[in-house]
Symmetry: C2
Subunit: 222 residues, 2 copies
């Protein structure tokens, strides 16, 4: 079978939702509901009702809403990493790869038919709207040890190494890409909701150009 599996740390669920039908339906419905009503307004009871199942069944898969969000966001980073690896094979220079990586961060991605239960476009919107909430908590240190942020860290590492290929003396590869990844999300949010905080007019192209310039100018420190 032609199945693509994105692996997510087993600390991010009670029971692996990818292994059962109900689990996949929980993922699918959670993405839709959370994107629609926002993290704060979502409850496990609402997910249960939407699935014509129950609150208790959702709790069997995830300890709480925060863990569910962390799962979904890690799934997104894992999936982005796979996409990047695929695309990088076609490209030769590190600069081309970085340019493409920034596009992948900003542009919505095509549906992957091998993963019917995840709507990647909706998931990307969810990440834009919610991603800092997984680490901006008092539990961050404990959750870091459980691997809640591995997906994010791996992408930063990968891109940081590309930067060092361009300029081995560049001092801030991790800071730069945690900033760029975060800005890729927040600029999308600002363009839509707080336009005075961005200069993007024609949409996502402007964001890509802004981020690409910032990235390459930083690395090639004159």
């Amino acid at each position: 079978m032609n199945v693509l599996n994105i692996s997510v740390s087993n600390k991010l669920y009670n029971k692996n939702p990818e292994e059962t039908d109900l689990g996949k339906r929980i993922l699918s419905k959670s993405i839709g509901l959370m994107a629609e009503m926002g993290y704060e307004h979502l409850t496990f009871k609402k997910i249960g009702i939407a699935l014509e199942s129950t609150e208790a069944s959702v709790y069997r898969y995830f300890q709480n809403k925060h863990q569910l969000l962390a799962y979904l966001i890690n799934w997104y980073w894992g999936w982005l990493e796979v996409k990047m690896a695929q695309e990088f094979m076609m490209l030769n220079s590190p600069e081309e790869k970085l340019r493409r990586a920034i596009q992948l961060l900003v542009f919505p991605m095509d549906k992957d038919e091998r993963i019917p239960h995840i709507n990647e476009g909706t998931l990307q919107k969810l990440v834009v709207a919610e991603y800092p909430k997984i680490y901006l908590t008092k539990e961050v240190d404990a959750e870091n040890e459980e691997g809640y942020f591995l997906g994010y860290k791996r992408i930063c590492d990968t891109l940081g190494k590309l930067a060092l290929q361009i300029n081995p003396k560049y001092k801030y590869p991790h800071s730069l890409f945690s900033t760029v990844i975060s800005a890729a999300q927040s600029q999308q949010f600002f363009t839509e909701h707080l336009p005075r905080l961005s200069d993007a007019t024609s949409g996502k192209e402007d964001i890509v150009e802004f981020l690409t310039e910032m990235t390459l100018n930083s690395i090639q420190n004159k």
Copy 2:
């Protein structure tokens, strides 16, 4: 009297906390408690008890916890704006001003004795730990119209204008400074909690240098 007043939009409170003794004690205690236990774990009941007052009294000043957070964060931006204006008077070139602005964003500030009820250092920690939560909600558009984000926008504008003095053709002044301000906060957070996402070792100096390089290299687009 030698009083400095930071003005915050009256949509950010029910009853102006700066005008009464209890109001000021609410501000003071809220900053301490929220920094200590985190936004999610704080409740108005806990604030009331800590003040030897009541939950209902806190509700007389703020509609809810989210409004309280928005108030505190706007107060912080307003106060930073005042500090920047003071410092900029001593400096001549826009580049010097930008360098100083980035320092002000990252380094803890001295206590201002004219404002005894606000602990600026603790407030800065609170902003680092919580600031995206005021806009990452489904209510963002409505709250934007109420002026919930004016403080942030004004600082971005001010810094963006300095960038245009250096290079009038720079295309992304708002995007750049919303990114830099946000990165100033998140890099502090990462350095402490998720060090693989930053390269800062010796602390805040590294963050200042990273941000300053990124800013100036972006503006002086080769």
